[in-house]
């Protein structure tokens, strides 16, 4: 965990406990903006929102802050569905190519622009906001890779190129909050709704061989990997039974 920074898994766990003890949770919420946009409806309403706002929540004190304006405006609606991520305590946000951080004055500011190459999906900041991961696929190409960028530079740290025989992963993947465990579906049984679930671990700049977790299981949504990469959850829907 956090091998790049010589931080051990134990240290990371302590950091996480500290976060939890502080119980400072930031949530990104936008309905107020949507309501405002409805009131101020314009031609481009369906393309953009006006502003990104944040609530700060303290469960221990039972308080919720007023809006904190990020100063980030003109956000494409498309970014809200599948192109944004916040780190564990909300001190870092990636949205619409912008990497935004919370400074010591409790003000959000754009730290830098980070362009994700290719057809990208599912960007995900790690707990500390130091790494952003995403799935990259070139137009017309069936050769996806999961890339790891350093948010302090925007440069590529490493990437995991899906094995040739596993390239139909169809965006069904998840990554742990420490960016060290990837779970993904390989879907070889076209049209059946069945897939094989694999796990890959990142060790600094190399990756372990995929481990088959479950074969021929129904694929309805991406797997969910727990923060530390120790549990993987699958969700599926069936008709109710008596």
């Amino acid at each position: 965990m956090y091998m790049e920074n010589n931080i051990s898994r134990k240290d990371a766990a302590q950091m996480k406990r500290r976060f939890i003890s502080n119980c400072m949770i930031y949530l990104l919420v936008l309905p107020g903006l949507i309501r405002q946009a409805l009131a101020d409806r314009s031609d481009d309403f369906f393309d953009h929102l006006n502003e990104l706002l944040v609530y700060e929540i303290s469960p221990e004190e039972g308080t919720i802050s007023e809006f904190i304006s990020t100063g980030i405006t003109d956000i494409p609606l498309s970014a809200l569905s599948d192109d944004w991520s916040a780190n564990y305590d909300g001190s870092a946000i990636y949205i619409d190519r912008k990497f935004i951080v919370l400074d010591t004055n409790n003000q959000y500011k754009i730290e830098r622009e980070i362009h994700l190459e290719g057809i990208t999906r599912h960007p995900c900041l790690d707990s500390e906001g130091k790494i952003i991961t995403y799935l990259k696929r070139e137009p017309g190409d069936n050769n996806p890779s999961i890339r790891f960028l350093d948010t302090s530079t925007g440069q590529l740290i490493t990437q995991y190129t899906v094995l040739k025989q596993h390239r139909e992963i169809l965006f069904s993947y998840d990554i742990s909050a420490d960016a060290n465990t990837i779970a993904y579906f390989f879907i070889p049984y076209s049209g059946t709704g069945l897939g094989d679930l694999y796990v890959v671990d990142r060790k600094e700049t190399y990756f372990t061989d995929p481990i088959l977790i479950q074969d021929r299981t129904f694929v309805e949504s991406p797997p969910r990997v727990s923060s530390g990469g120790n549990r993987i959850f699958l969700f599926r829907s069936v008709c109710g039974t008596d």
């Binding site: 976060f19 939890i20 119980c23 949770i25 949530l27 919420v29 309905p31 107020g32 949507i34 309501r35 609530y55 929540i57 469960p59 039972g62 919720i64 809006f67 564990y88 909050a177 796990v199 481990i211 977790i213 479950q214 299981t217 969910r224 727990s226 923060s227 530390g228 990469g229 120790n230 549990r231 993987i232 959850f233 699958l234 969700f235 599926r236 829907s237 069936v238 008709c239 109710g240 039974t241 008596d242």
Partner: protein
């Protein structure tokens, strides 16, 4: 006997765990005393899940114990049919939204140790 419940579906869930000997076989999440269980969210640490009755009139929290998944601790949401709730990563806050009058969307926060708090944007 199978039956449809409106447009609702039940969700079955499975999980696998990493041990020193590798990954366990997939296990089903079985929550006792939860009727018509629907999973809506999951704390990212994997220790807490959010369940709901099929009618959305109650929302329950469950967590993994040594003996499996605990019986849900239910609370009644402030609105009858909340949108799919989210749960904070530490599992202590549930956030859901919806509207009583279909006009003003409102965000609600449920603190695990306290009552729901209404927040009007």
């Amino acid at each position: 006997m199978y039956h449809l419940v409106g447009i609702e579906y039940f969700y079955l869930d499975q999980y696998v765990e990493r041990t020193k000997d590798g990954w366990t076989s997939p296990c089903k999440i079985v929550v006792e005393n939860a009727t018509n269980t629907v999973f809506h969210g999951l704390a990212r640490d994997g220790t807490l899940a959010l369940v709901s009755s099929s009618l959305y009139d109650e929302v329950g929290l469950t967590e993994k114990t040594e003996n499996g998944w605990s019986s849900p601790q239910y609370f009644t949401p402030k609105i009858p049919v909340p949108n799919s709730p989210l749960i904070s990563e530490d599992g202590n806050v549930v956030v859901y939204s919806g509207s009583n009058d279909r006009k003003e969307p409102t965000i609600y926060f449920y603190f695990r140790e306290g009552d729901s708090t209404k927040l009007e944007p």
